[in-house]
Structures are given as structure tokens and as C-alpha cells.
Symmetry: C2
């Protein structure tokens, strides 16, 4: 099927990436749209805009709103939520794992486990022990996976993916790309899937 | 009916306020939710965050995205859209009119006419002649309305409303308040109406 797939760009420290990560797989399947997991780092993206912290910390009114908005969204969807005691948490190690193993069958389960650790269980996802605990669905030893995710090649892979995000015009997370089209925010997931699905129909007809 | 009404906070220069202004009256009526028009100025709100321009100009990646996103939204809804040659346009005079005559029966028609002037016809809405042209539905002479909107009391009224917006935690437009709850963005209009409507049901039951 000549379908324009959706690229799902996310960062483990990003608040609105959490509800998206929890629902994208089911929703994309329901709409018969394929997608790929694209972890990246917001830090370099934010620094390029002159920010040395999350805009939700730099702009308190926006931050207060975001926490309440996220709480409402999670309540609406029956998604557990507990405001992390540290924000934003450092998702570097988890992102390296997700980037290195982006096509593994256990990857979606791992991604959701990391988001739940951060936004439901208030765990420090920068800790190797926490990341290991999120690898329950992966075969073999978590230590071997962490090691493989921290080789120079794996580190370079995540850097390249973050640069690719910037090149696509991405300035926040979650974001979705469908060909040249960019969509930003959990509230644009439906539009991104629709965009991909309508183009697939046209390509087939 | 003991209903928590929605306050619709908008700014005539604000891009995403345009699609909301064009649909809020019909959507609120359909859902039997009452709402009030609350024009305010984003300038003082942005300056309090350290911005001397729209964040869409200050952060080019965000701005590029916004224009494309708005274009897609308008296309989806069959809403005419032409990117204004000047952004953001100065909506001070129109906001003073809208604030002074917020409860007039012709107000919704005026508000939509100003937004269309800015985002469909690319007219300079800071011009008294353009604002006058948007007053076709109002009784009497446009000049008398403009004069009434520029008395010291009318000017103070808009200043007070902008301060009230800041006090409610508003940091952008469009925004919606329902009691203590704040919603931000055209994409949160449905949630704001739902919030008001569910509370009204509870208050009645």
C-alpha cells in the first residue's frame, strides 16, 4: 500500500508527549495508518531558540496552564497522572535506547513504560536502574541493551535524529511529520493521521 | 438555568482567534452554552513575559508552523484565509469598540467583520475607516460609535479587561475561562464548552 507514513517525534521529558505515546499505537491501528517512533532531544532544539530550560519553566503562566491542561486531558482519557517532582526529567538514556531499537517489537512497550515511570510513577528516568525496569518486554539482559544504546554509533544516531527533527522545522514535542507536513501537539495527532490516510487513499485511487 | 458561562478572550491581531471567532457563536448555540465576548490586548501580556513582538515572529520555526497550521485549519473548515501582509496588526481601536459594546446585538457581526478584514481581506484594522466599514450591522453612524469607544472611560475599560485577563492567568489568545478553569487555543473551544455544559447539568440535577 503506497501510504505516506506518519513519523511520531517525541521526547521522554515532554509532558504532552505522554498522552500521545499512550494512545498513538491504538489510534493509528484503528485508522490503518502506519507510523514510526522518532525519539529526539528537545534540549538542543530549545537552546537554538535561546532557551536554557523548558518554556513551561521559563514562562510561569504558560507552565501553570500546561499542568492543569495535562491533568484534565489525562482525567478525560482515564490516564493515570502524577506531576513529576522534577521537570523536565532527563530522557537522554531512554532516548538512546529508543533510537537504537526503534524497530524492535518491544519498543512501543518500552516507550510507554518510560513515560509512565516519568508521569505516573514520578521516577527518575535518567537512572539506568529505572530505564532497565522499563525493559521488561525486551529479550535478554537490560544491561546488554543499555550498553548497546551507549556505543559511539548509538549516541551519534540520536544526535542525527535530533538534527533531523530541527531540519524538519520541529520546535516542540510531540510533533508529527507526514511527508513535508508538520503537526505539533497531542491535539494534532488526529489531523496527522487523517492527512496520511487521505493521501494514501488518493495514491491508491 | 444555573449555568457556568464561558468567557471568550480574544485579540483582533491574533491568528488563532480568527477561526474561533468565526465558529464560537454557532457551536455554543448548538451546545446550549452561553458565552461572553472578552476582547483584550496581547501586547501588555506579551511584554510581561519579556516579548516585544508576537512569539510567532520572535521564534521563526514556530511562526512558520503556525501559518501553515492555520492555513490547514481554515481549509478544513471552508474558511477563507489570506496571510496578512503585516503581522501582528494593531487591533487597539477595534478592541475598544468591542469592549465598549460587548453586549450589543450587533457585536458578534462586528467582531467577525474585523477578523475577516484582517485575515481574509488583508486590510489594516488599525485604520478608523476599516473599523467603520465593519460596523455595517450597527445602528447609527460609525463615527459616533468610534467616538464613544475612545472616551477615557472606554479606554480604561479595555485596560481593565486586559488586566483581568492577566489575573486569570491568560498568556495567549484565544483563551476561554469557565469559572476558575482556563482553556487556551482554538483547539480547546470544544473542551471549554463541554466543561461549562457538564457543570450546568450537575448544577441542575
Amino acid at each position: 500500500m503506497p501510504e505516506l507514513a506518519v513519523e511520531f517525534w517525541f521526547e521522554f521529558g515532554s509532558t504532552y508527549s505522554y498522552p500521545t505515546a499512550m494512545r498513538i499505537e491504538a489510534l493509528a491501528a484503528e485508522r490503518s495508518v502506519s507510523f514510526s517512533w522518532r525519539p529526539f532531544l528537545l534540549g538542543p532544539i530549545f537552546r537554538a531558540q535561546g532557551w536554557d530550560d523548558s518554556p513551561f519553566n521559563l514562562y510561569p503562566a504558560k507552565g501553570r496552564y500546561m499542568w492543569r491542561d495535562l491533568e484534565r486531558i489525562c482525567a478525560d482519557r482515564g490516564l493515570p497522572f502524577s506531576r513529576p517532582s522534577v521537570f523536565p526529567r532527563n530522557g537522554l538514556l531512554a532516548a538512546r535506547v529508543a533510537c537504537r531499537f526503534a524497530r524492535a517489537t518491544w519498543l512501543p512497550t518500552f516507550v510507554r513504560a518510560v513515560f509512565r515511570a516519568n508521569f505516573e510513577q514520578d521516577l527518575d528516568i535518567s537512572e539506568p536502574g529505572v530505564v532497565s525496569g522499563c525493559l521488561a518486554a525486551a529479550p535478554g539482559e537490560p544491561a546488554a541493551i543499555l550498553k548497546s544504546a551507549q556505543t559511539p554509533e548509538a549516541k551519534a544516531g540520536l544526535r542525527a535524529q535530533t538534527e533531523a527533527a530541527a531540519q524538519r522545522g520541529i520546535f516542540g514535542a510531540p510533533s508529527f511529520t507526514v511527508g513535508q507536513e508538520l503537526f505539533w501537539g497531542d491535539d494534532r495527532l488526529e489531523a496527522a493521521l487523517m492527512w496520511a490516510s487521505e493521501r494514501a487513499v488518493r495514491a491508491n485511487s
